[in-house]
């Protein structure tokens, strides 16, 4: 065979993927290795280019590129839980998840409930947002109106609790069940109601205390009150002193 001339690369270099069975690597490598000899090439330039090109090809024979590619794909699919402990080299393709399984898992996370607003309905992200809000566009006005009434009329605690209970357990389609925002607002409303009741009670107690104090003190200080009435009109002196009299009784 006449000495080889190293070809000029095209303007747009391209490659050919050649799958070499591993058992043929020693033979194919040796074929490439023969082209490392100077005598195989016409000029020193051809020899240098040829040597470098074919040693690269020899190295590629050990890159295990196909195995790496398969493993990359398997890593992307993800190993099934039952085979996590199986050594990688012993795993087979069916031990990894598939796009179909991944799709089904995502679909399953949407979930359905046996009753309530999500009954037989596959929840969407929009549904979850509505649930967090506690209302949707059709029913929201009614619910906010109910809360407004509770707050403005100073509703009793029992009525507020009843409202919350109805809200959390409602199974009607027109009311969003379990709305976190609604529950929080309703709780605030109940607290406001309790505080209002406490304020009214405190006000009544204050009026009673003032009346008692007025009764004890009388309309004019010192000369006209219950203590003066009990004591009579004679002022206390050294012989007429309640504390002294009590002390004498104790000593006797």
């Amino acid at each position: 065979m006449p000495p080889l001339i190293f070809p000029e690369p095209p303007e747009t270099p391209t490659c050919t993927l050649l799958l070499v069975p591993n058992e043929l690597v020693p033979i194919v490598g040796a074929l490439f290795g023969r082209l490392e000899r100077r005598a195989e090439w016409l000029t020193d330039s051809d020899y240098q280019s040829g040597y470098k090109a074919f040693t690269q090809l020899e190295a590629q024979l050990m890159n295990s590129c196909l195995t790496d590619l398969i493993q990359e794909i398997r890593d992307a699919r993800g190993v099934l839980p039952d085979f996590v402990s199986t050594p990688i080299e012993e795993r087979t393709s069916d031990m990894y998840s598939s796009l179909q399984l991944v799709r089904q898992e995502v679909f399953d996370t949407r979930g359905t409930l046996v009753d309530g607003w999500f009954t037989d309905t596959i929840a969407t992200t929009a549904d979850v947002v509505r649930a967090a809000r506690g209302s949707d566009s059709d029913t929201g006005a009614t619910i906010w109106s109910d809360i407004s009434d509770l707050l403005s009329t100073g509703a009793e605690l029992a009525s507020i609790v009843g409202f919350i209970t109805n809200l959390l357990t409602s199974q009607e389609e027109t009311v969003v069940e379990g709305g976190l925002g609604i529950a929080q607002i309703a709780l605030l409303a109940s607290i406001a109601g309790i505080l209002q009741t406490m304020g009214l009670t405190q006000s009544l107690h204050t009026e009673a205390l003032i009346a008692i104090l007025n009764a004890l003190r009388g309309p004019t200080a010192v000369e006209d009150n219950i203590i003066v009435a009990l004591r009579g009109t004679t002022p206390a002196n050294e012989f007429r002193n309640v504390a002294t009299l009590l002390g004498e009784e104790e000593t006797e």
């Binding site: 040796a30 040597y51 890159n63």
Partner: protein, 160 residues
């Protein structure tokens, strides 16, 4: 292994107009230094060229050592079954070094390249690779284009 130096060879490689090649060789005593042998080659080549229609395309000074005892080879050894060490060079190319009749003791036993790949973690293999990449006593090997070897890229059997 006990190597003894013998005569030094001076080789001139001729190529004819068909691309065929042949060598003109003469020998020098082992006492001649490498520098003197190279000097002789420079003076000798034009003398031979003057007599030939072919062209000298390369020349070599070969300093020979030999083991006169010719020790026996290992059973089953095959010099065409070579351990090929492909090494990255300082110029980001790859150079090759080969060990004829690579022993099975150094071949991978498991993995996708079982029976083919060379276990580059074994101590003797590491020593060889270190000598190729780091040199010995300050002298470092290189590829045919004077690019130093810097690291191992791949190592496996090639069957010539």
């Amino acid at each position: 292994m006990s190597l003894t130096q013998r005569t030094t060879s001076i080789r001139l490689r001729f190529r004819d107009n068909d691309g065929a090649e042949s060598i003109c060789q003469c020998n020098l005593a082992s006492s001649v230094s490498a520098a003197s042998a190279a000097s002789f080659l420079s003076a000798w080549a034009p003398l031979v060229q003057a007599l030939s229609d072919a062209a000298i395309v390369s020349a070599e000074v070969v300093i020979h050592w030999t083991d006169p005892a010719r020790p026996p080879a290992g059973a089953g050894s095959d010099v065409l079954r070579q351990g090929t060490f492909l090494l990255d060079t300082a110029s980001s190319d790859i150079g090759a070094a080969r060990v004829p009749a690579i022993s099975d003791d150094f071949i991978l036993a498991t993995g996708p390249y079982a029976g083919i790949g060379i276990d580059t973690a074994l101590a003797d293999v590491v020593s060889l690779i270190t000598a190729l990449t780091d040199g010995i006593d300050g002298t470092e090997p290189c590829d045919p284009f004077a690019d130093d070897f810097v690291s191992i890229n791949a190592a496996y059997i090639e069957q010539f």
